[in-house]
Amino acid sequence: MAKPMIEAINVTKTFGDVAALDGVNVSVPEGSIHGLLGHNGAGKTTLVNILSTLLEPTGGTARICGLDVTAKAQKVRRCIGLTGQFASVDEQLSGRDNLTLIARLLGAGKRQAHARADELLELFELSQAAKRPVSQYSGGMRRRLDIAASLVGSPQVIFLDEPTTGLDPNSRIGVWEIVKRLAKDGVAVLLTTQYLEEADQLCDRITLLSKGRVVAGGTPDELKADVGQRMVTVTLSAQSEVPTAVKALGATGIQATPQESGSTISVPVAASADLAAIVRTLNEAHTEITELGFSEPTLDDVYLRLTHEPTGTSVPA
């Protein structure tokens, strides 16, 4: 395996007595896309902020290109580019001026800075809007400019914090293409997302975070094999029937999970024969099925599975 460009070793971060990160390990080699998957508050952004030198870790070690992010912060900043959750470009400047400014700050001469800005604008299909103020850009254009801005210094490591949140489907696919191209050029990419589909499409490896802890990790296929079976959701006629149904299914070896509200339970199914078994079991338990549906695995299912393990590892809310 190529040498890791991004390394988090047992990283912890506490704010007051709240543990935002609790012993997180991540390793990303060059040319690879790594996904941090999790809900709001899972600790994704905190980890990105630590790795991009914005926050200091409370414990553990974080290294970029082999350099410690705390001790060698200024050197680390030479290797990284960050596209934060909110567009960090200057609204009042034009797209070209934004990129030129960053190139100038990185030491480029005036002409070099303009050349680099134009090159990136071309690459990100923003040449037409180069001279317009960013305040007039659409969400997708702004995001592209934001990513372009983090690439001005040709960093070896890129952090993308929820790069497609709030984008329309077309813009989203555009961003995906950019990210894939970056990895092909040898950049190590760490991106955060709330969308399982996005992680599946883009990432070589995924780390699933929940409440500051790594709850699962691996390639998308490994994760899916682990937790991502198709689910059947069964809606019963009354909420009072839920415990009966779960117990009856449990007795036949099928693990059903009650959903947070209402009279719905979700049941993983591997083969269609399972469906017949579920219906039969519920009939025999005298519960009434009012609705039955298939659903593809969502982040919620993955979460429910991983944070409500019967072994009692669940985190108290």
Partner: protein
């Protein structure tokens, strides 16, 4: 280095990171000076819109009209220097007010930057973070300079401002007001960096600037004030700044007075700037 060695070196670099020619490798490194210059340009940009330029020009005009018109009667108040026209006494004070008000804006400017998230990106760049604060102070300094020139020109054109100190005296007054305003801007930059809360900052700014500017010798001589106010006015640093600029327009400034003003201003920056730098974080 021989040609072969150079090629080998270039080759190594290419294989180490073969990405789109890697243009940034030919770039030099930037220092505090060039970073500050680039960032000052960015912070000045919003001030250069036509509408903003007009408003910032009109602001001192309104102040001149108000004070020169309304307070003209006070020109005969006891304690006013009788050998000078009231405008010669008022214009330097308005310059100080203008410069300090522009300086107070620097705090809001920094808060806006912090809200903008652009600062987050600057914090991930290998630059000297102090350049962001320096640029902020210089941008608002540039705005103050523009307004100071407006005060001088308008006062001369419409209010008969022609002090004994002559053109040099007026230039000196503009520069001294600029120094006072710039050094005071560091108080507000420091508060913005420490508080990082726009609402609280605005309240404190108003609370500070009003007594600073009005409980001073700017408009009326302290001798005509009630005792408690006189004590405040006489201790107010703005009164000293007004004294200095008034001596300047009168062409009577002494080296001691000049040095005292410059040293006081620089001392203020030397206290506030390091605290601002230390407190300046994004999260």
């Amino acid at each position: 280095m021989t040609v072969i060695e150079a090629e080998a070196e270039a080759g190594r670099r290419r294989t180490a990171s073969d990405r789109e020619g890697h243009p940034s490798e030919q770039w030099g490194s930037s220092g505090l000076f060039s970073q500050t210059a680039a960032l000052t340009g960015r912070s000045i940009r919003p001030y250069l819109q036509v509408g903003v330029l007009v408003v910032t020009f009109v602001e001192p005009l309104v102040m001149l009209l108000m004070f020169a018109g309304v307070l003209k009667v006070l020109g005969d108040a006891p304690g006013m220097p009788t050998d000078m026209a009231y405008i010669d006494n008022l214009a330097p004070a308005i310059m100080i007010i203008t410069a300090v008000a522009a300086g107070a804006q620097a705090g809001n400017g920094l808060i806006n930057d912090l809200r903008n998230d652009v600062i987050t990106r600057f914090h991930t760049l290998p630059i000297n973070r102090f350049s962001v604060l320096l640029a902020r102070s210089f941008a608002d300094g540039a705005r103050a300079l523009y307004q100071l020139i407006a005060v001088a020109v308008l006062a001369a054109l419409f209010f008969g401002f022609a002090p004994p100190g002559g053109f040099l005296g007026v230039v000196g007054t503009v520069l001294m007001s600029l120094l006072v305003g710039w050094s005071m801007s560091w108080i507000f930059i420091m508060m913005a960096a420490v508080l990082r809360n726009g609402d609280v900052l605005r309240m404190i700014t108003t609370l500070m600037t009003f007594p600073l500017l009005f409980a001073s010798n700017a408009f009326v001589p302290p001798e005509s004030m009630p005792t408690w106010l006189r004590v405040i006015a006489q201790a107010n640093p703005i009164s000293y700044a007004n004294d200095a600029t008034r001596s300047m327009v009168a062409g009577q400034i002494t080296l001691a007075e000049l040095l005292a003003t410059v040293v006081a201003c620089l001392a203020l920056v030397c206290v506030c700037a390091p605290i601002s730098k230390r407190s300046f974080r994004v999260m």
